[in-house]
Symmetry: C2
DNA sequence: TCAATAGTGTCTTTGAGACACTATCCG
DNA sequence: CGGATAGTGTCTCAAAGACACTATTGA
């Protein structure tokens, strides 16, 4: 609020609606997926859309996003971050709607994701094969979200949020490759991750192996260091994020 | 908008107010300053605050920010970027207000900045000596804005937005030092800037010099390259920005 | 033994930082 | 000339990339 606001009676003017939209990412079969819901009403009937809803008067934006997330997936206590606020005038044909978009990262091994509550269609889409047309400006929001995810992957421990409790280093590498969309050198990846000293070995209780080859060492995230510590995976010249 | 929204009559529910607040930066005497306005009414009467105002129903968020900027400073066509959206429930004691914050960078040599239109108090503050207490959560917003500015300086050509048309490399270095808050090596700075190849020499029409020492070479930004090209000044490990 | 998967070592190149050097002016 | 300011050269060290190597299993 500000100086100029004083001159107005706050109740007198028409106000826009405010929603939160949550772009929910997860890994399924080592591939990055995003959750979309199918609309059943005008406008964009039948189109897939990013889940979201109105912000209540007595909840913060982040709270609204968390509520929305739980309603859609049943998932709580996940990584959530504000992405951007979209407020073009014509983005919703019904009325003026300003949408605060969030990103959520859901752990791959949280199997309890109930994607279909109530009766409407909800589905995980691989980010490589999204529906042709999305509702509203949601294609734009999604593209922006993926860009942000890529960008932050390189200088944070964000990727670990997508991992199961235990994982191998090559699995982690695979996730980086998925999200960055390029191949990484195995040796350099090992070196980089080990130097960061964010992981600890899991004592492997080896069951019967079916695979050939040398058995995999499993790791888990060191809770004392990771997530707080800044981790720079790589600096790149070609990050092209808007505003972020 | 989204699935869940269908169930609501959009006109039926109470809505929050939406404002834009614009953190306006400039350089005065080579020092980073920010524009604040002094409040004359309850709440936070007498406190300094970030300029801002309500978003009209028929203008986009960015448009609202540009309008606000022009009203406060008379400045147009400047660099503007969305910062973050602040929406805690109690941040404004009068009513629920969601504020979309923007950063604006105003060129140092745009002397036409009329900081006092109408009669209320408007002032540039050096970021090193801000008022003790700011209105609402504006101290938080400001701190966040300065953090973002620092962070982006390192991998964009943002700093050039603050420069006059012509400048010397040591002036540019000084600005980087101002905003980053640390000394930089002269030789390395020259090297880095020259390698980037973003500047072109200005043919100096030398007038009478009063200063001693070797005369300064002036430069200007190459419009063909800068601002589009990614420029990485330095990668640092200790960037700690929230959400950005 | 070989094929398959996991993991390591090491050489080369690049770029950041430190800092000493040269250049050009005024008086 | 000497002091002052502008600008350059160069050495060292650390990190990134490329890629060949070793390790451990099942068949």
């Amino acid at each position: 609020m500000q100086e100029q606001a004083e001159r107005y009676d706050v109740t007198r003017y028409e106000r826009p609606s405010v929603t939160v939209d949550v772009v929910i990412f997860t890994l399924i079969h080592q591939e990055l997926h995003v959750l979309l819901v199918q609309r059943r009403n005008w406008p964009f009937e039948g189109c897939w859309a990013i889940p979201g809803g109105f912000v209540d008067m007595d909840e913060s934006l982040e709270w609204a996003a968390r509520r929305e997330l739980e309603e859609e997936t049943g998932v709580r206590d996940v990584y959530l971050e504000q992405l951007y606020t979209f407020g073009e005038v014509g983005r919703d044909p019904r009325t003026r709607v300003i949408s605060v978009a969030y990103i959520a990262l859901v752990r791959a091994d949280v199997q309890q994701i109930r994607v279909s509550e109530e009766s409407h269609a909800v589905r995980w889409f691989p980010v490589r094969t999204l529906p042709e047309q999305l509702a509203f400006d949601h294609a734009q929001i999604l593209a922006y979200a993926i860009g942000r995810l890529r960008s932050k992957l390189e200088y944070t421990t964000l990727a670990f949020q997508l991992l199961p409790e235990q994982f191998s280093i090559l699995e982690l590498k695979h996730i980086y490759e998925q999200i960055l969309g390029e191949k990484l050198d195995k040796g350099n990846f090992y070196r980089k991750i080990k130097e960061a000293d964010l992981l600890e070995e899991v004592h492997v209780v080896r069951e019967e192996r079916k695979a050939r080859g040398r058995p995999t060492q499993l790791w888990r995230v060191r809770r004392d260091r990771a997530l707080e510590k800044q981790f720079v995976f790589r600096w790149r010249e070609d990050r092209l994020e808007r505003g972020g």
